[in-house]
């Protein structure tokens, strides 16, 4: 997708974050344009997860501002983030294993009839639609998520994000612990998101997965942004060198 000129969809400016005495983010600037897929890479402890958790409303920045679609915003809870159209797919915490697919997709946003009674028909139908939009073929929306494979589970989480008209989908290590086939499934889901014009932030350790999917790469190390390169200006090997160098640099 071509980057549109003008305002980025999301702009984080001079973000600082402390956890007790740990200085997790040291003045990070980060933006994502509409329809763009950005790979956020870096070694452990670099601050990638923390940065996107601030965008998702899970944490709050101690200093700095966030602009969404040009407006300054305060994201003080996951609800705020979702209201803006930011959806996150976490690695471990995305789904409740014993709940059905439908109940997972609509967790917290269940369609209701009178007095809060869940509208099961709507919930099931919409779930199947959401899965179909992503190309995910599953037998029934009542299956407990624990019976799905790793790739399918990520698919459900991504389908959830897609269904709720996300403008920005953040994927935090979505390919960890997946088989080669499942990784390809997940990357295909992400491509579907791209086809819909949704911006994506893709966090990963695995440069090759990221390289496949992203247009731009932001490298982080120890709480700072170390590099910001477009895919056409670099190669996986160069990127990997960048990451290693940043890990040792000051």
């Amino acid at each position: 997708m071509e980057r549109q000129n003008g305002e980025p969809l999301v702009r984080m400016v001079n973000i600082h974050k402390w956890f007790g005495r740990v200085y997790a983010l040291r003045g990070v600037d980060f933006e994502v344009y509409r329809g763009e897929t950005v790979g956020l890479i870096g070694d452990n402890g670099a601050g990638k997860s923390t940065l996107i958790k601030i965008l998702s409303g899970y944490h709050q920045a101690d200093q700095g501002e966030i602009y969404f679609e040009g407006q300054k915003v305060r994201i003080s809870s996951p609800r705020d983030a979702r209201k803006l159209g930011i959806e996150t797919v976490y690695q471990e915490q995305a789904l409740a294993p014993n709940l059905s697919i439908a109940r997972n997709i609509f967790m917290g946003r269940e369609p209701v009839r009178r007095w809060g009674i869940i509208d099961r028909k709507v919930m099931n139908e919409e779930s199947m639609k959401a899965l179909a939009n992503l190309g995910l073929r599953l037998r029934s929306p009542d299956l407990p998520v624990v019976t799905l494979s790793g790739g399918e589970r990520q698919g459900v989480a991504i389908a959830r994000a897609l269904h709720f008209k996300a403008k920005l989908v953040i994927l935090d290590e979505p390919t960890v612990a997946l088989s080669v086939k499942e990784v390809e499934e997940v990357l295909e889901f992400v491509r579907q998101l791209q086809r819909e014009g949704i911006s994506v932030i893709f966090i990963t350790h695995n440069l090759y997965h990221a390289y496949d999917i992203a247009e731009r790469f932001v490298v982080m190390a120890r709480g700072k942004k170390m590099a910001d390169v477009k895919k056409k200006d670099t190669s996986p090997e160069e990127l990997s060198q960048l990451v290693i160098k940043s890990a040792f640099a000051e």
Partner: protein, 331 residues
């Protein structure tokens, strides 16, 4: 309750509850056949079983609900006795029965909320919180009441509604307590399985972080569940006093573990996120039937412990076995 096509989820639910139901049916038949003169199925005994057993069972419903959302309440017996004490005092102060009952239930709600707030605010495991409040509430109740049994004969106060409400017989036969047990079971069942709040309860118990990430206020969900337990304790406190016409400081002793047992027997997982109101209902009935059956068969009360122990272990094992089979069926 049926929407025509039998969904897979419904099948799963039924299969776990059905094993519990089988156990219950076997027990009922066993007691019916083996009790001297089939006393188990004697109408008088059934009335006793349903009225007494329902007191415990109502509370077990709440404890089971709380377990689905991932927490435990070991203080139910103490909340019960504290509420009984509150009712006693109000009665002695000649407060109209209706208000006494209402206040008692509100006090129960308050104690439940306290359990909830301590657990979620201080982020300590509910196991510990309710261990502490268990000692606290019973201790306070004993302290203020002087630790004895006290007569509290409600029938001395003219009230057309109080006694029948809690201890009456519908159609002259069916005990009111059992009626309330069913009412609460249906209400909580609808809440858990059909209401969006029920989905929040499941989500909170199954994966708290996912629930929070999806914007569910898990602290609120847990506190409300604790409150429900408290309300049920308050209700049963009134019912118990209505039935026995006295306050006893030993009310509810041991009920916390029995309630956990009833839930576990009913297929509720100790980790949270798994359980059904049908299962809890049957589990509570099972525990009550066991107690009553052993009494009817003149078996010394001590055997109940042996039986409970075996029942718990057996049901958890079979529950785990079913779970394993279900998981394999879907691969």
């Amino acid at each position: 309750m049926n929407d025509g096509r039998m969904s897979l989820g419904r099948k799963l639910l039924l299969s776990r509850s059905s094993s519990v139901l089988i156990v219950l049916v076997v027990l009922v038949l066993g007691f019916a056949i083996l009790s001297p003169e089939h006393r188990f199925v004697d109408p008088d005994n059934l009335k006793v079983l349903l009225s007494l057993g329902s007191e415990f069972s109502i509370i077990a419903l709440g404890v089971g609900l709380l377990m689905v959302c991932g927490e435990f309440d070991l203080s139910v017996g103490s909340i019960l006795v504290f509420c009984s004490f509150v009712f006693l005092r109000l009665f002695e102060a000649q407060v109209p029965l209706f208000f006494s009952a209402l206040t008692t239930i509100l006090v129960g709600a308050a104690l439940g909320i306290i359990n909830g707030l301590i657990t979620v605010r201080a982020q300590i495991p509910s196991f510990v919180t309710t261990l502490g409040t268990m000692m606290m509430w019973r201790g306070l109740a004993l302290l203020f009441s002087g630790g004895e049994q006290k007569g509290c004969d409600v029938s001395t106060v003219p009230s057309r509604y109080f006694l029948p409400f809690f201890t009456g017989r519908i159609g002259g036969v069916f005990p009111a307590q059992a009626f309330w047990f069913i009412v609460f079971a249906v209400f909580l069942g609808i809440l858990l399985h059909y209401h969006r709040f029920g989905n929040w309860i499941y989500a909170t118990g199954d994966n708290r972080d996912a629930a929070r990430a999806m914007g569910i206020n898990t602290d609120l969900v847990k506190t409300v569940c604790f409150m429900i337990v408290g309300v049920l304790c308050g209700f049963v406190a009134c019912a118990q006093i209505a039935r026995t016409a006295c306050f006893t400081s030993r009310a509810g002793e041991g009920w916390e573990l029995k309630a956990v047992a009833a839930s576990v027997v009913g297929g509720t997982s100790l980790r949270g996120g798994v359980g059904s109101m049908v299962g809890i209902f049957i589990g509570a009935l099972t525990i009550s039937v066991i107690e009553n059956g052993l009494v009817v068969m003149r078996i010394p009360y001590f055997w109940t412990y042996v039986v409970f122990g075996l029942v718990i272990i057996f049901s958890v094992l079979s529950s785990m076995y079913i779970e394993k089979k279900q998981r394999e069926a879907h691969r």
